[in-house]
Structures are given as C-alpha cells and as structure tokens.
Symmetry: C2
Subunit: 343 residues, 2 copies
C-alpha cells in the first residue's frame, strides 16, 4: 500500500513545485498529419515499425504468432503514457484545487495541516508533507459524496481548470501519437484498456470521450464505496479509505481481477508499470511491451531515473533484455498534443 | 462480509443435504425449439412479452425510452439465474470434491475438522459446521496455487464431475431460456455481464464457452492475489483471504467498480440480487428487472422464501411495487436445459 500511495500521491518536492507556474512555451513545430493512414504522428523509424510489425504478425491468420481477436487485449497506463503528468499528477492538482474550493465550508482548515499549507501556499510546509498528509488530502477531496456528485465535480473541473504551463484544459494534454496507437489497435480488433495507478472514477469521467475507452475498460485505484437506499433512491457513496492500489504489483493483480486475461500488448512510462510489462510480455510468446521515455524538454518534459513523478529507472535497464520497445518522445513523435496550437 | 460468506458458502443444513444424492428424475417433457426466432424456449405470455417490449422500447430510436448502445448494460446473477444451484452451489460441490481429492496430501485432515467430517461423510458433524469452518474449506481449496494451476483444476473438474441428480456435467445445467435472453440482448447491442456472489476465477473458466460472456465481463467474489517473478516467470498466486464479496450490497459496489455504468437490465433469482435490482431498475427511467422464481419441482426444484440456498423473500414482495418481472419457471419456460436428454 505504501508504495502505491507514493505513486498516486506526490512527493513533497513535487508538491512544492506545483506552484511554480512556469511560463508557457512557444508553440512547438506544428506538422500536418502525414499522408500515411496509420500512426501519422509517428516519425518513420524502428519504433513505429516495431508496433506495425507486431500488429501485422498477430493479426495475420497465416502467421505462427496469430492471436484470435478475443485474446487481443491491450493495456495502457494513463499518467505519463496517455496524457501528461507534470508538474504533478493531474489528479493531485485536482485535489489541491478542491481543497481551495471547499475551504469556505471548512473554517477549521485554516489551522489544520496539511490544509493550511495548501490554502496559504506555504511552500516550506508543503515541502515537509509526508504520506499521511497526502492521504488526508485525497480522502478529504475524494470521499463524503455520492458517485454522481463526484462525477459532476470532476466534469466541472475538467471543463474549467487549465494546466499551469500550457494554459489549456487537462484533457487537451493527451498524446496524439498514443491516441493513434489506440485507434490502430482497435481497428485491428484489439480491446483497449486503461490500467492506471490513478483513481478509476476520475479517469472514467473522460476516457470514453477522449480516448474512446468505455468505463468498463478502465482499471485503476479505488476508494471504498457504500450502497444504500436514500429515501428509496439507490445511492453509492464514496467513503474514506483506499480499497485498491492499482500500481506496481497491483497492476497484474488488477489485470487478472478486472480483465481476467493476460494482455498481449502493454504500454507504460514508469517503474510503476514494470510488473504490468513483465506480466504481459515476458518473452515466451507473441506479446509487445512499449515504454514512453520523456526525453523532450522543449516540447514536453525531460525526466526518468531520478524523477519523483513517473520515475523510470529499472524499466530502462530491463527493456533491452526483455525486448520491450522504448519510445523517444523527442525522436519518434512528430506531434505531441492534438491541438494545432500546442507542440 | 459475514452475510456475503453466508451466500457463497452453504448453510449447515444444506451441507448435510449434499450427500443425499436424490434419484435421477425421469426425463421431462421434451419440446422442439419453437419456430419463433426470438426466445424460442419461452412460452407465449406476459413474461416473455415484457422482455421483448422492453428491448424494442430502448432500441427504437424514435422511442422516448431509447438508450444508445454503449449504455445498454445488462447484468446477470449466475447461481440459480444462469445455471442451477441445487442441492448446493456448484462451487461448494467443487470444494468438497477438492477436499476428497487433496486428502492424500493432507494426512492431518483425518483428524482435523471440518475436513474429517467431509472425508468420512459424517452428516451429523457436517450439520454442525459454522461459517468459520466453511471459510476454511474454501481457503483450503481455492488458494495456495497459481491462477494457471487453479484454472487447470477447475477445467478438469468441470470436464469430469457430474451432478448428483441429473448425472451430467455441471455446465449442462445452464438454463436454455436464459441463454436465449443473453443472445437476444447481444443481438440488440447490449453488453452482457455476470455479477455473481460466486468466485470470479471459477466462473470465467467456462463463461465464454457456455454463455458467450468473455472473462472481462464477469464480476464476482474474489480471493487475494500476489504477483511475483518465479525464476523470472511472472506468476499470480491465489493466497488465503477474501478480497471482495460480490453479494447483496456488494453487487452495486461491484457493478460501479468493474463496469462503471448503471445497467438498464438486471436479472437475479434471490435476495442476494435485491440491491443489484434496486440499483438497476428503481423506476425513474427505462430499465428492466427480471427475477427467476424456482417453482418447478418436477423439472427442476421448488424453493423461495425459506430456502437456505437462493432464498427469495424480500424480492418477491418488492417485485410488484418496483415493476420487476417474475419468471415462473414452471409456466414461462417450455424447456429448462439445453440437452434434449434433460427437461
């Protein structure tokens, strides 16, 4: 549980960084969609080719690696794989915004840590927050309401909040090349799933619209739930406490529990995805592991082995041994985000 | 947890009954498939008509009750709804068979309750078993192996074990009319799910083959799981302990967690399905609740308000108030099981 919380919450250093509001970058090199119908925002090269080769291999009935459509399960991490995760996991930015929005109803927060530190933007205190305080923030903002109320709060935030660097709604910071991979796989009769350390309820609120992935194909971390009849109306209430942390060892567990089949395609970007990649593509059958390496500081961010958010260390070492493909964002992607106004 | 265990396990009275091995009944009235293409094993009448009317209402784009295909979620209980559950839940019969099969490797069981009572068919002792002992039986037979090993054990049991009354494999005791409902719904772009108090791993081993429901659409109770690399091989091990009980209040919780949408069609047969029916079809929108009433003692079994297995009491009272349809197995079904040799 501890390691999982580490991932869905932020480290203290990262928490402090979220107030930094770096200046918006100049628009990146904008490129028109390539003429190629498949993966147009991917540069030609080994990375793109390895994806195409794999899909052709498992969908060709005459291939020894042919996989029947029901077994074509593809799983994707969300934070840092399908959408950005800097300067902080977007779900934590949501939680901080919620603390500010809820402050009027909680006068006691002006004298209660960690809420006081958030409300006063006390960076020194924020830098000293530990796991327990971060869990307090998540519980205060993610429980104590019905699932319908939570959905409405998230919808409103996604519609109005903007990213500190790019100044656009968070759902515009999804990766165009990964949207193309999702579509390409589905066009080839794959069933695409999200398997995220983030909270399921939040991801489900936009996954169908933004990724084309329906709620029943979103696996993630989850809090506790209680069912009751409120004046005869069936109601699900989000209650305090973490029910499941879908990270690290939890990812293969979540895959077995929610999907019940071993995927043949897995994509992630951090060591939180390592066990999911191991479970999917151990090398004894046709399966594909894909790791996104954030190495483009101009158009996005550069981070890997030492990052508090999305640390990618063991995964980089294991990739060549296990035959996983590593995407260089800088070299392999001609476009990062869907909007023409963004890189 | 207690009430949930009650349902996936058997009561002491029922446990004793499992050794009764009632004589096989004479073959029931065998009827050829009707000419009607839809729901052929259903007799004409209000029950069948209410199902057809509902499906036509929500799939007709000009109807005020029209529901778009992605929201056409249908959920089915398994034990007593899709297949039989007498004289004991089939999963518990499996567990008892496993205790007998594993006895050679557990010489200590000859002197340890509840195992001694099972091995010696000591009905008096079996009748005295409580919840704790029943949990011991489930844990001893459902943990301590990899998920792949468990699947192989279940496959073998399903292929070889036969039902004490009907003398056929358990997977032949699925209800033909319910198979037709599943097909009818899927033909109308519904997505069909199982939401069962029984164990997910066991149901998934046959649901795709028997019901046409893939593993990722099976929600059920589950034990704990651990991921590890065993000599480099990614392995999931079933460990002792119950992770989730998908029964009563747990059913709407399981639906939210695994499916993430409110169904518009729910079918069950016991008070364990009550909350699922309430959550699905509270009367404020187009939704359908369907309850199977076991009232055919000649072709199947008669049980409801006082039964230890599949007790249906509150559900019978609430059905008329909430507009749920109650199936009379005796009057509404012209055929119970798929095989021509069975009723």
């Amino acid at each position: 549980m501890k390691s999982g919380l580490y991932v869905i919450l932020a480290t203290t250093a990262a928490l402090a960084a979220c107030s930094d509001q770096p200046a918006r970058t100049a628009a990146g090199t904008e490129q028109p969609a390539a003429a190629a119908p498949v993966l147009p925002s991917w540069n030609q090269g080994e990375t793109r080719q390895s994806i195409v080769d794999f899909v052709e291999r498992v969908t060709d009935p005459s291939s020894p690696d042919y996989v029947a459509p029901p077994e074509r399960i593809a799983v994707f991490d969300n934070d840092g794989t399908l959408w950005a995760e800097q300067p902080l996991y977007f779900q934590l930015l949501f939680a901080l915004d919620r603390v500010r929005a809820m402050a009027d109803d909680h006068p006691e927060w002006s004298e209660t840590e960690p809420f006081r530190a958030i409300l006063e933007d006390d960076r020194e205190a924020l830098a000293g927050l530990g796991m327990r305080e971060l869990l307090q923030i998540i519980e205060a903002t993610h429980s104590g309401m019905t699932t319908a109320e939570f959905d409405a709060i998230v919808d409103d935030w996604l519609a109005t909040a903007t990213h500190p660097r790019f100044g656009v709604p968070y759902t515009e910071l999804v990766y165009q090349p990964m949207l193309e991979v999702l579509t390409y796989l589905r066009d080839n009769e794959f069933k695409t799933f999200i398997v995220s350390g983030g909270g399921m309820d939040m991801i489900r609120s936009f996954a169908e619209r933004v990724y084309g992935i329906p709620p029943e194909q979103v696996v993630g971390s989850a809090g506790e739930l209680e069912f009751s009849l409120v004046e005869g109306v069936p109601t699900l209430t989000k209650t305090p406490g973490i029910n499941f942390v879908d990270d690290k060892d939890g990812k293969p567990v979540g895959i077995h529990r929610f999907i019940g089949r071993r995927p043949i395609f897995a994509s992630g970007n951090s060591d939180g995805d390592l066990q999911m990649l191991q479970y999917t593509a151990p090398g004894d059958r046709a399966a594909f592991g894909l790791i996104l390496h954030h190495d483009d500081g101009e158009r996005e961010w550069v981070y890997d082995r030492d990052s508090h958010i999305g640390r990618l260390d063991v995964g980089l070492d294991e990739a060549p041994e296990r035959g996983w493909t590593v995407i260089s964002m800088k070299n392999d992607w001609s476009k990062i985000f869907p909007s023409p106004d963004l890189p």
